[in-house]
Amino acid sequence: MMNVALIGLGSVGRGVAGMIAKKDLGIAITGIADSQSGCMDPDGLDIASLLAGKSRKGYVSDQKISASDVIKKAEYDALIEVTPTNALTGEPAIGYIKAALSQKKHVVTSNKGPIALAYKELRMIAEKNGVALRYEATVAGAIPIMHTLEHGLAGNEILALYGVLNGTCNYILSRMAAEGLTYEQALMEAREMGYAEADPTYDVQGIDAAIKLVILANTIWGNGVQLNDIDRTGIDLLTPDALRLAEDEGCTIRLIAEAIPRKHILRVSPRIIEKNHPLVVDGTLNALTLETDMAKEITLIGRGAGSTETASAIIGDLLFIKDRYVQRA
């Protein structure tokens, strides 16, 4: 059995807790915290009743116990850090992750802020303490891109990567192309479907895709790339006419994140792309093409968001840690 502490009970946190409770994975939750409360039990918590309480009261447990208390005092092997992303400071997640790593606890996160902003430092702390820092869920939701890079494509040189990394933009562009909607109409529809935030800036101006590109570039090439290094253009100025003009040539327009080190390209921009290209996926799907020296091109397609989909990525990381580090009956 591996013990885990879970910080953050938004849609991702609830999805992870629910799946751990439901499936027989050999994982027990011994500490849990949301933004207002927390609780711990070395023998394992009753997840079903805690989640029921959370949906009734809005907070999970004892308001005198904070997330930091759980990270410091609970008995666990790995921390699951799934608090909301703060793209500017990465806090409070960076503090949580550092605290856990320094206590020789493994960390699994879905939080893009800390990995995009403080990857090098966090990686060093993890290495110094002999523990793992894993973040499969930060990029492309359920698509196992990090596992693919680390294991399936081990020994390959990654020459380039191209990705559709933002489901909101892909949905808007799919709808503009299919129905001739204006950008504003497609955005409104995306909001109604729950695919776009009230303030869509972060998605439609390509910031979210650029942050994911930063995470991928640092993971693959360790090149210390930052958000400011990405050449970024959003989709908010696209016209239905532009999509129609692309359509006339058997093409469409998609927001593509692109990294080609040999050409010094790090870019997120709307691009003309043939409709039968593997990166042209529908709706909120994500897709990634890697170009490597041995495997040549590999494309992965899957769901980029969602509670259970993201839980899939997090649980994959947890079970990897369990197999590799935590050998307990």
Binding site: T239, I272, H277
Partner: protein, 163 residues
């Protein structure tokens, strides 16, 4: 170019060798034996890229090898790319935008489709550019990027084919 040569061992290689000698780049070789043709000759079509001014030298080298040239078709601008531009295209002098490409001598705008929804609204255009070489195409796109930036136009480039 379409070539006719003796159908004997080594002839095809002999015909291809001069191409690399003059710095040419072979794109395709189409080589078909036609049953109703005299069986001692072979017709071969070769698609190739040749630097400016090397054609005469290639022809004489091929003739020395006993290869007869049946036909040569020339296409100067081999590379083609399509971009989309969005913005106030007329107000920012579209003919100047096109001219910045055409005046290079190595690239030109060969097609332009445009849609203008209403006065004061942003228009959208699809522009096809042809260029002499891949490097020239890159240079032409760099010019378009610079012009788009200066004129506050949104330039949508094609995703480069994966090499």
């Amino acid at each position: 170019m379409k070539l006719e040569m003796k159908d004997s061992p080594g002839q095809l290689v002999a015909a291809l060798k001069p191409i690399s000698e003059v710095g040419g780049n072979i794109i395709a070789v189409i080589h078909q034996r036609e049953p109703d043709l005299d069986n001692d000759t072979l017709n071969v079509q070769i698609v190739l890229e040749l630097p400016e001014g090397r054609q005469e030298r290639l022809i004489s080298l091929l003739n020395e090898q006993g290869v007869r040239i049946q036909r040569i078709d020339k296409e100067r601008l081999l590379y083609q790319r399509t971009v989309i531009m969005i913005g106030h295209l007329m107000h920012t002098d579209l003919s100047d935008t096109v001219d910045q490409i055409d005046s290079t001598g190595f690239a030109e705008v060969c097609e332009l489709s445009m849609s203008m929804p209403a006065v004061n609204e942003r228009s959208s255009s699809r522009i096809t550019i042809k260029a002499v070489s891949k490097g020239d195409m890159e240079a032409a796109l760099a010019i378009l990027r610079r012009v788009s930036h200066q004129k506050s136009l949104l330039l949508i480039e094609p995703l480069e084919e994966i090499s």
